[in-house]
Structures are given as C-alpha cells and as structure tokens.
C-alpha cells in the first residue's frame, strides 16, 4: 500500500523531468543554430556569384559556386601582406609577453627584494584601468619615440598589460620551494634555475597564456588602427575594414571572403587547441 502511493507520486516528477530535458535540448540546440547561422552566411557568401550576392531574396545555399572573390582578394588587394604582418606582430608580441611576464612572475614569487610587494600591488591595481583612457597619451609617447608605423608601437602597449603577470604569479606560487633549493645547493645560478627548472615546469600555463596573447594580438583593433598608418603595414583587422571603404562600391562578396580569410587560421587553431584556450579564460575568471 505504502509503496503504491509512493510510486504514484513519483511518476509525476519523472514525466516533468523528461519534459524539462526536452526543453533544455530544444533551447540549447536552438541557440546553437542561431550561433551557427552567421558563420554559414559568411562562408556561403564567399562562394556566391555576384547576382546571388545582390539578389533581393537571400540565398542561404549558393546554387553556383565561384572562387572569383578569393581570386580578386588574393591578386588585387594586399591581403597576403596583411596576413604576414599579422602573423609577425602576433608572434613578436607573444614572445615578448611570455618572456617579460614569466621573468617578473618568477621575481615576484621566488625572490626577495625590497619593494616587491608594492610593485605587485600596483600591478594588481592597474587591472582597474581601462586601456582606452590611455589611447591619447600612449599615442603621444609612441610618436615621440618614433614608434608610429613600427611594429613596436603595437607590441609594447600590448605587452604592458598586467593580465599575463597576474596569471603567471598564480601558477609560480604553486611550485614547491624544495626543487629550487636543491638546484641552488648544486650551484645553479638564478638564471639557470629559471630557464632549466621553472620554465619547463610551467609549460602548460605558458602555452595557455601564449595562445591567448597570440589570438588577442591577432584580433586587436585599436592599437594597430592608430599606430600603423600605411596600408603596407596594416594587420588583417585594419586591412579588412579599409577594404570595405576603399573598394569604392562595397562588394559584399569580397568583404565576406576577407572575413573568412582573417578568421580561418584562428578558427582552425581554436578547434585544435580549444582546451588550452578554455584554460586561459578560466584563469582570468578565477584569479581576479
């Protein structure tokens, strides 16, 4: 008797649960569908012949496929140059950030020197400063130092950000002291401890930070926009936008194709290295 009533009342939540599960699936996959449409549109448009690009009824599926936009983009614009510039700039910035941030993170966590707590406090405090308010003074400094139209005019403001230092400090704190003590007793110098013990141990944190900085620099818009003022120096994001303005009549086919070219390398890297990137983003959410 008592088991029967129990079963009766239990059957309700089970159905409710099933209904809820169906609702969750519908909502999640519905949202995923909405998220995918813009990608689909971008890729589809890049292969559409002109009359379908301009047609009043949108063609979600191109009935003819053309590579005309890719041909025009590769041979009639500077997009190859812009891609090389972007790769170069992102690589330099990543190397500089990993180097200087890991050095200071090592110094702040493993070495004792006067003022180090104050320095760390100021770096933490600088998180509150929105980058944008420095737009004008950094431009003044860059032009005084002759860094306008130089890659360093972009690299240095980006490398000044506190995020990487803060992320690495969290990791360096967790390395056991014993390893370093043992190495020191063996007569290792600080530099050698840093390069032979600390850095190898931090490989995965450095990889996550490096990937994050690379993508961040690749995508950065504001600094390249004000610092790089010659079209031969543009990065992809800047070049793309000028393409929209300078082709006279804006060709949606060209613009969408350029968007495909600018985002493909990162989307591929994203699919392969997603877990590193998730880690880099999570580090930001948990460290602040």
């Amino acid at each position: 008797m008592s088991t029967d009533t129990k079963r009766l009342t239990d059957s309700l939540p089970v159905d409710e649960e099933r209904l809820r599960t169906a609702g969750v699936y519908a909502a999640l996959y519905g949202a995923a569908f909405l998220f995918v449409i813009p990608y689909w549109w971008m890729f589809a448009t890049s292969f559409k012949p002109r009359e379908q690009v301009y047609s009043a009824v949108p063609h979600l599926i191109p009935s003819d496929i053309t590579f005309e936009w890719y041909r025009q983009l590769l041979f009639e614009t500077q997009i190859v140059q812009w891609t090389l510039n972007t790769v170069l700039l992102a690589t330099i910035t990543t190397v500089v950030v990993l180097l200087v941030d890991s050095m200071i993170a090592y110094s702040l966590t493993r070495l004792e020197w006067p003022g180090r707590r104050i320095v760390f406090g100021i770096i933490v405090g600088s998180f509150m400063v929105p980058g944008i308010i420095n737009l004008v003074p950094v431009f003044m400094i860059a032009s005084e130092l002759g860094l306008v139209n130089s890659p360093w005019g972009v690299v240095l403001p980006m490398a000044a950000g506190p995020l990487g230092v803060f992320m690495l400090v969290q990791f360096f704190k967790d390395i056991p002291d014993e390893l370093e003590e043992a190495a020191r007793l063996d007569g290792f110098s600080r530099l050698r401890i840093f390069t032979h013990i600390i850095l190898p141990l931090m490989r995965s944190a450095l990889a996550a930070l490096g990937l994050f900085i690379f993508i961040w620099t690749w995508n950065s818009f504001l600094w390249p926009l004000i610092i790089l003022q010659r079209s031969s120096l543009y990065t992809l994001p800047i070049g793309l936008v000028t393409l929209q303005d300078s082709m006279g009549v804006t060709e949606p086919g060209i613009v969408m194709t350029s968007a495909v070219i600018a985002s493909m390398p990162l989307l591929v890297a994203f699919l392969l290295l997603q877990n590193h990137l998730v880690k880099a983003v999570e580090m930001q959410g948990t460290t602040k």
Binding site: P114, L156, F194, P237
Partner: protein, 303 residues
C-alpha cells in the same frame, strides 16, 4: 615566501646572499616594469596632465595650460551627452542579455546533454574572431540585401537595412555584440558551475529541495564571485564599445550610435583636440570606477 631572516629596523638584510638575491630580483622584474612604466603607468599620468592643456599635437611644448577648462567644456558639450546617452543605451541593451544568456547557456551545457563538446565549441567559438570580422559580418547580415531584414521584414513588413535606421541601428550593434561576447562569459560561468561541489546538490536533494530551490540556494550563491566578475567586466567592456559602431555605422545615422569612445577617438584623431580627448578618457575612467564600485557593493562581493 615571507622574509626568513631578521632584516633589522628597515627589514633589509645586508648579507651577501640576500644582496645577490636583490640584484637578481630587480633584474628579472626590470623588463616588464620598464615597459609598463612607459606604456601603462606613465601614460596614465601623462593623460591626466594633458587633460589640463589645450594640447598642441605638433609642438607639445607650446601647449597652453587651461586648468579645468576641458572638463568644463565637456559638461556643456551636447555631443558628449549624446555619446554618453548612446553608450548607456548600448550598455542597457547588452549587459543583461550577455550575463543572463551566458549563465543560461552555461547551466544548460553543464547538464548531462548529448553533444556537450559540440555545444561548448559552438558557443565559445566567436571568442576567436576579431571585431573587424564581427562588424563586417553583421553589417552584411543587417544590410538591405542581408538575411535579417529579409526575414524580420516578412513579419513586420519593413525589410530595409537596420543600420540606416535611427531606432534599429543600436539594437543591431547590440545583437552583434551579444553574439560575439557571450563566449568569454559562458566559459567562465561554465567553469564556475563545474566547480560547485556535487555533494551540495546531493545534500539538498536529500532534504527534498526542488530544482528551483537548488538553483536559488546552492547554484547562485556558490557562483557568486564569478558572477560578480562577469557583471563587472561586461559593464566595463560595454562602456568602452568602439569597434562595432566604428565599422558598422561609423556612429550614424546622424549621431545615434556614436559612443563615448568613438567621440574620444574622433576628438583626438579627426579634430586633433588631444587635451580634450584625454579629458574624455578620464571622465570615462571615473564613470567606470563608479559603476564597478556600485556593482561590487550592490552585489555584495567579498573578495
């Protein structure tokens, strides 16, 4: 790593080993400190200094000190108030949608659903796109030959471009921004949800708590700090919106999508009023500090 040796009155240890440690410590810190001094902290002070001048961009030495005049002009500048109003409108459109959207997606993906990896990949992927691609792509989607006006027009009867419309241009920019920035917040909240200990839910279940009560009494309080982080950073970045309106509308039609940062940018690089632009930057900074502090205390952050 607290000080091990007794360093006397000033806490400074003068033994040979510690002196070498100092030198090493300072040497390792120096490269970043120099870069940050030149391109982060120095500019912060220079910007404040510039905001008190009628800055001469060609010969900075001939700039004229005008005290608080830039700030006074700003307060009576209708274009500034218009830009502030537009920015606040953008913030109102985007922040709730981004915070609630990324929370719902994170809680949904965290459930035991099929295709979890695929869903996470899709929702996270816009994160790797540059604002230039976001702007150009959504520019096309909202244009008169684009997808959205066509299908929305079937219902409303108006299939014109959203970006040429005074009422629809800002919502269009907001939609593009939500699509782009849910990603980052989604990943943070997904990690936060996964860090809530499962035993709390088991205990709540034993107590017969409904799923709504578990949400209210376990999930939300346990995710409080990441939520505060998401709210504050979303506010701060929405207030600084620049690339999307710059690319999609260039501030128009009229000045209906000119945001504060766009106004700052044009003041500096089109009108060459660098002192004035620096003052706009500082006012924006103060607004952001106030908004962040308000959020922090109102939401009850504790670390």
């Amino acid at each position: 790593m607290d000080r091990e040796s007794d360093g006397g009155f000033l806490g400074i240890d003068l033994s040979v080993r510690s002196t070498r440690e100092w030198i090493a410590g300072v040497a390792f810190a120096a490269p970043y400190v120099l870069i940050a001094a030149g391109f982060l902290f120095g500019p912060l002070l220079l910007g404040l200094y510039m905001s008190f001048f009628d800055w001469n961009p060609i010969v900075p030495g001939q700039s004229e000190f005008i005290g608080l005049e830039n700030y006074r002009t700003l307060l009576s500048d209708p274009r500034f108030w218009e830009a502030l109003k537009n920015t606040v409108y953008f913030v109102v459109l985007t922040v709730p949608a981004i915070v609630v959207g990324s929370l719902l997606l994170a809680l949904g993906v965290n459930r035991d659903v099929k295709g979890q990896w695929l869903l996470r990949t899709i929702f996270f992927s816009p994160y790797v796109l540059t604002v230039a691609v976001i702007g150009l792509l959504w520019n096309d989607l909202f244009s008169s030959s684009g997808l959205i006006p066509y299908y929305v027009g079937m219902i409303t009867g108006n299939s014109g471009s959203w970006l040429n419309s005074h009422t629809l241009a800002m919502p269009a920019i907001a939609i593009a921004t939500v699509w782009w920035t849910i990603a980052f917040n989604f990943v943070i909240l997904l990690a936060a949800r996964q860090n809530v200990p499962e035993r709390l839910y088991e205990a709540a279940k034993l107590d017969g708590a409904s799923s709504w009560r578990m949400m209210r009494d376990v999930t939300i309080p346990q995710m409080k700090n990441p939520m505060i982080f998401v709210v504050i950073t979303t506010f701060v970045s929405s207030f600084q919106v620049f690339g999307q309106p710059y690319i999609m509308t260039n501030g128009g039609p009229g000045s209906s999508t000119t945001t504060i940062v766009m106004y700052l940018y044009t003041s500096a690089f089109a009108s060459r009023e660098f002192g004035y632009a620096a003052a706009i930057g500082y006012v924006l900074f103060m607004i952001l500090v106030a908004v962040s502090a308000f959020n922090f205390y109102y939401l009850g952050g504790d670390d």
